[in-house]
Subunit: 222 residues, 2 copies
DNA sequence: GCTAGTTTTCGAACATGTTCGAAAACTCGA
DNA sequence: TCGAGTTTTCGAACATGTTCGAAAACTAGC
């Protein structure tokens, strides 16, 4: 029977491993640094690690788990910035750290939607938010709701933006938004027609920050 | 030169098409109804439509565009519910319609992140939100920010929940959250340890509604 | 040293999305 | 009627993630 690949527990017998999980993760990081994450294929990774493609699957469950492991690894190296004392500001700061860290690795898009948490290494950010909410007077369940709202909002912003960027770069087709707005000369949507011009100019970063503050303050002053 | 596949403009000459885009979309809908969207492959779709797989690519750009077309089609059939007069309530109602419609077809997950809009057919929901915000006194740019915040939040919630469901069903592995929480007996995160028990019990739907209201009210009373 | 058991490795193969180039089927003008 | 141009169709093939089964390489007990 095969032991858990994540915790090999070098118990006794067996063929000596020529490859380790850490080795594979390292090779993956190199490859991503060199070519970008879109070009990380299992075959290339295997080649760089010097093994057959199928060997990888003895050390990671699949490509997605590999990316998740990389994310957790990455989150572990996010510097734990000093956070403000005031609860609301502390929540905003922690959320911003989380947001910026995730936005910095937009290639982990697929992993972000696994649940309302990412790996162990990022738990201090979650704790910071929950803790501040409770210090502000929230009961436990509302603190969780607050955190989770922030998570939805943050993940949504990152996924939408990263994906839009990717598509625009991919085959320089116009932004989807533009193809929709181009047909807006029809008169049945007057308000949208009037706005369509200013729409694309509005920075998504601004939207994120304003919305985040509104979300947090709205949930705390209930 | 090949004309735009989306707008064939039956101008003049050429081999008579045995296949139409509408036919393909119809076959796709059937297939999804029969087997679920996860099992919609281009090859199966071609088989049901009675053509070679490669033929599909003359009528849709790729699988993603096909899904997007299906979504737009679907959005077109969302009944345009009567919305409340009061602006804040109208925004909440419109957002809820949008949310429920998208959540009802979680298989369109990949398309949702294309931009901050979906197809033409759903524009009335966008218009409803923007219009209500401006009626409430928002300038145009803030109305757009508001809409976009709602979009991020909604998309985030749907993607996270749909993806978590999918993974849990896929190979009945435990929720990612649980594997993280299981290691929470370490004492360095006391607040989280205390909360971990109640966390999974909190309904995501509740989180969504509370957060939505907070977001909207927070942004409007600025 | 030999055998049984275990772990790691890998080649073959499959499913899937997609590209490419050529063939088929048609229209129009000469 | 015929050839040029155009649109549609399709078979072959490729890249990629992944599974499967068998072979390789080792340890422990006899």
């Amino acid at each position: 029977m095969m032991k858990d690949a994540a915790a090999p527990e070098r118990g006794r017998t067996g063929r000596p491993p020529r490859t380790s999980r850490a080795q594979i993760l390292g090779a993956a990081r190199e490859l991503i640094d060199d070519e970008g994450w879109e070009r990380l294929t299992m075959r290339k990774l295997a080649a760089r690690a010097g093994v057959a493609p199928t060997t990888l699957y003895h050390h990671v469950r699949d490509r997605e788990e590999l990316l998740a492991a990389l994310l957790d690894d990455y989150a572990d190296r996010i510097p734990r910035r000093e956070l403000p004392r005031q609860p609301v500001e502390r929540i905003l700061a922690a959320a911003t750290v989380m947001h910026d860290a995730l936005a910095g690795w937009p290639w982990l898009v697929e992993v972000l939607t696994a649940d309302d948490l990412i790996g162990d290494a990022a738990l201090w950010m979650v704790e910071a938010i929950v803790d501040a909410a409770m210090e502000h007077g929230c009961p436990a369940d509302e603190a969780v709701h607050l955190y989770r709202s922030i998570w939805y909002y943050t993940v949504g912003e990152i996924l939408v933006r990263a994906n839009a960027d990717r598509k625009r770069a991919e085959l320089d087709r116009p932004a989807y938004r533009d193809t929709v707005f181009r047909r807006l000369d029809k008169p049945e949507l007057p308000r949208l027609s009037a706005i369509a011009g200013c729409w694309p100019a509005l920075c998504a970063e601004d939207t994120y920050l304003q919305g985040l503050r509104a979300l947090v303050e709205g949930l705390l002053t209930k």
